[in-house]
């Protein structure tokens, strides 16, 4: 694409219409000139010699006749060492460095390179002059925190290349040339550690896609045991406001058993990301013994930041996730909230005066959502190694009602659904995932049969509970009453989890299997009680003890003692029979 220029002929909200001369591409980046700064924009529609552009900044002050410069490039991000531990806005500007430059407020038109240019990386070459390489092949590596960061042939290069030059081992900045590659026509290309990739295109440099079969352990019991997530899978968390979507993702971002977590804070509160930002550097990741920040990338386009950049931010995030997958790492992308992204689409669509679909969302909402989640997945790379991108998105449905376009479109493409319920969050039953409505198609940490038995207890207990509201405890049979108490016990002591307790907050797969074995046996035990008061007291005590057990580390002698106490209690209750 050539460098085209144009002039503004219309402005409404964050949308400008530009009359241009020359060639313009869909999704090409352009800059609308406002004094001496350029406001970054993206072409979203072309009609004749007019293009509609969404502007990633506030448009106040733009006028008809103002100049627009097209860049010839698609909206892209920088990929290379130094992404980890960073905090970017939706367009990959590093926010802490922007703050050093601009102070308290974000400044229109201010942009900085995503990767620091002053930092040197210890490069070790892995190819020799004369080797044949294609896009995605390794050229060498640099240590990036706890990982070996693979420096790869830029993904955008097509065809086969011969290595003409490769830098010797040494320390280089990300933008220095580390190799020269020769194509079949004899044209030489300079390659640095940093490369650019257009965010709206998936990185597809793998041999095959894999079925998501291996559980991704989140250490949240109700998820791993009942509604598991798989590595390379996709799941969603819809829920009304305040039900605990963000807290659940925060917990997952800390404990999930993956290499890298990409957090996309998309159109939500700035305050929430500040917590992560300030706390992660101080929290130690038990897997690595290093700060959690070292495995985290934050893309943060909060609700007060420009709406168009919010729309772009989820693509920035998923592109970075795909990049690390190319290094055969397991990456988890957490997006909060995908509804805000969908709303950004709706705003743009509205300004383009497209024919609206349900709730004024564009008719293409479903396919956009499907394409996004499709970018997740486990893959076998060309070198035989595997990597994965798992995507978890929260949804903020209007009125907390799941029967709305974003939830419905998402449910069609994800493999697990963690529906948060207002009733459960009001009753402070956290995490407020509804155990009756939620589902997962993935395999979890315990066998499906055992889980099915437990779910039957939950359903039966729930039915008795409903009945009891009408007929009272007096009108309920002893068997039903015990079923009800068993369901409550399972809920209180296993489904609910104290996120803020050191031990209970993160339950390993091993621990879940162990605990679930014990609790499953209790659910099956033929307990007998003289009366309902005795039954209630028994389960009350059992719950208290199990909660204590939840707080004891597995290697703590207390863990064994408590388990024995629990099992003795149950034996006694069955002995009455």
């Amino acid at each position: 694409m050539s460098r085209t220029t144009g002039t503004i002929i219309g402005v409404t909200g964050n949308m400008i219409t530009v009359k241009f001369d020359g060639v313009v591409g869909q999704n090409e980046v352009a800059f609308a000139k406002l004094g001496d700064v350029g406001l970054m924009s993206e072409v979203v529609r072309v009609r004749g010699t007019r293009a509609d552009l969404q502007v990633f900044e506030d448009t106040a002050g733009l006028g008809v006749g103002d100049r627009v410069e097209f860049s010839g490039n698609l909206l892209s991000v920088e990929l290379g060492p130094g992404l980890l531990a960073q905090v970017f806005d939706g367009l990959q500007n590093p926010l802490p460095r922007l703050a050093e430059m601009c102070g308290f407020f974000l400044r229109r038109g201010a942009r900085l390179p995503a990767l620091p240019r002053d930092r040197r990386w210890d490069f070790t070459p892995e190819v020799k002059v004369g080797d044949s390489v294609v896009a995605g092949d390794p050229l060498g590596s640099v240590p990036e925190g706890i990982f070996t960061h693979r420096v790869m042939v830029p993904f955008g290069l097509t065809g086969a290349f011969k290595v003409a030059q490769i830098a010797p081992a040494g320390a280089y900045t990300a933008d220095l040339e580390i190799a020269r590659l020769l194509d079949a026509q004899g044209v030489e290309r300079s390659v640095a550690m940093v490369q650019r990739w257009p965010v709206r295109f998936p990185i597809r440099l793998y041999a095959e896609r894999l079925r998501p079969t291996e559980p991704l352990v989140t250490k949240v019991r109700i998820i791993d045991t009942f509604f598991p997530v798989a590595r390379g899978g996709a799941y969603c968390i819809p829920g009304p406001f305040g039900a605990g979507k963000t807290v659940l993702q925060q917990i997952t971002s800390r404990h999930a058993d993956v290499d890298i977590v990409v957090i996309a804070a998309c159109g939500e509160r700035a305050g929430e990301i500040v917590e992560t930002l300030r706390e992660f550097p101080r929290l130690i990741d038990p897997r690595t013994g290093r700060s959690l920040m070292e495995r985290t990338v934050i893309i943060c386009n909060t609700s007060a930041m420009p709406v168009a950049a919010r729309e772009a931010s989820v693509y920035t995030a998923v592109t970075i996730a795909e990049y690390y997958r190319q290094m055969s790492l397991n990456v988890l992308l957490l997006a909060d909230s995908t509804s805000r992204w969908a709303q950004a689409l709706r705003e743009t669509s509205g300004r383009l005066e497209e024919i609206p679909g349900e709730e004024a969302f564009p008719a293409y909402l479903d396919s956009v959502i499907a394409n996004f989640y499709e970018r997740g997945g486990g893959v076998r790379l060309k070198n035989g190694a595997t990597g994965s991108v798992t995507i978890g998105g929260t949804i903020s449905p209007a009125g907390g009602n799941f029967d709305e376009p974003v939830t419905q479109a998402t449910l069609k493409v994800v493999g697990a659904f963690h529906g948060l319920s207002r009733a459960r969050s009001d009753a402070r039953r956290y995490p407020a995932i509804d155990p009756l409505d939620s589902w997962s198609k993935y395999a979890g940490v315990v066998s499906r049969d055992e889980v099915e038995t437990a779910r039957r207890t939950l359903r039966a207990g729930n039915e008795v509970g409903q009945m009891m509201k009408v007929v009272g405890e007096e009108g309920t049979s002893m068997d039903d009453f015990v079923t009800y108490l068993k369901a409550e016990y399972l809920d209180d002591s296993y489904l609910q989890q104290d996120a803020y307790d050191k031990v209970d907050g993160a339950s390993t797969a091993e621990r879940q299997r162990h605990m679930f074995g014990v609790i499953g046996a209790i659910l099956r035990a033929p307990t007998h009680f003289p009366d309902k008061t005795a039954a209630r007291r028994f389960f009350h005590q059992l719950t208290q003890t199990t909660k204590e057990w939840n707080r004891a580390a597995m290697d703590d002698p207390e863990f064994k003692t408590l388990q024995e106490r629990i099992e003795n209690m149950v034996t006694e209750a069955t002995a009455h029979a």
Binding site: T12, D58, A60, L98, A99, F104, G267, V274, G472
Partner: protein, 443 residues
Amino acid sequence: MRRLYHRVDRIAGNVINVRAGDVKYRELAEVSSRAGTSRAQVIRLNNDEVSLQVFAGASGVTTDAQIRFLGHAMRVPFSDALLGRVFTGGATPRDKGPALSENLIEIGGPPVNPAKRIIPDKMVRTGIPMIDVFNSLVESQKLPIFARAGEPYNPLLARIALQAEVDVIILGGMGLKHDDYLFFRDNLEENGAISRTVMFIHTAADPIVECLLVPDISLAVAEQFALQNKRVLVLLTDMTNFSNAMKEIAITMEQVPSNRGYPGDLYSQLAVRYEKAVDFDTSGSITILAATTMPGDDVTHPVPDNTGYITEGQFYLREGRIEPFGSLSRLKQQVNGKTREDHRAIMNTLIQLYAGHNESVEKRSMGFRASEWDNKLLRYGERFEKEMMDLSVNIPLEQALDLGWEILADCFEPMETGIPTRLIEKFWPAKKETPISSVSNGR
């Protein structure tokens, strides 16, 4: 820069169209016609066709109106001279004081860089137990009061403003009843708070477009004070009126509505305002308390619903009381661990027992037999409602915690409360006979 135009092509709702060149998006203009002179703001540019939203409303604007573009966006004067003053939604004096024109600042400025925010940790004391004990308000929090029209949310806002130890109070009134405006003014005056207050008041009788400006103006001024290291409390009442004004304009502009007539960007529009709440690293802070009336008492209505997705919790005001269950301060845990060691225990216990009370009430109403425990809970609930929940109760946090212990001791045995022994030993009031020998009177 003076650019005059004389021809209005189209008048619809509060929006007029003129043909003009060299106009900037969001620029301000003055529209003069027989109806008088009003400011207006550019809301759309399409070739030489300029759409202007007229602050005073387009009613009476004639096709030969004179339009003068001012070369800048909406601004407000900022200085300490604002304190004690009352302005309209258009930032012109509503009181008898002089018009201010110095140090003009633009409204609707850029967002704070999230990297420059800090985790808030200072409690705002209100003297209201339902807030201080159960849902502590935190400096820089954004919190709405959800209420049906007719609930005393304005007196509640005024009271919090008076009791909170803040440097500056900014009151943004939207569609305020004139009586309510006078109530705020007199109330702040009587309590000697008017000299640290700035009011931007749009009343129900004023032009609707001015309603739209109130949050931006209030928050722009708040931001300036906060940057001068002041702790600022902004009261916005009623944000539902603000949202309705947006709906009205959106419909005039023929935007496709998303939900019950509200524009698709309602969430973003509200969020941009609420997100102005901030605790600046090394400077002051902005706390936002808003009133959001719930049409039809329905929290799933788009305005309260979108608000709940933005704010850091909410207070439900129902039948003159802050409802203890739906209400939530999402930031409370940042502060309530540092007040008094019994704070969290009292908070949890009183609420759990009150939930038990509600179940007992339900049981009673269903005609089921009340147990001894039910009777204890019923007795407890009555006292809790009268001595804690009633909005007339006005006591400092520590006194409220002591009161909590007293009510517990009058109604229950220590064992029945589930409070850890360590705290029982230290705080359980001695006047009743209890099985614990080492009971002292607390402190």
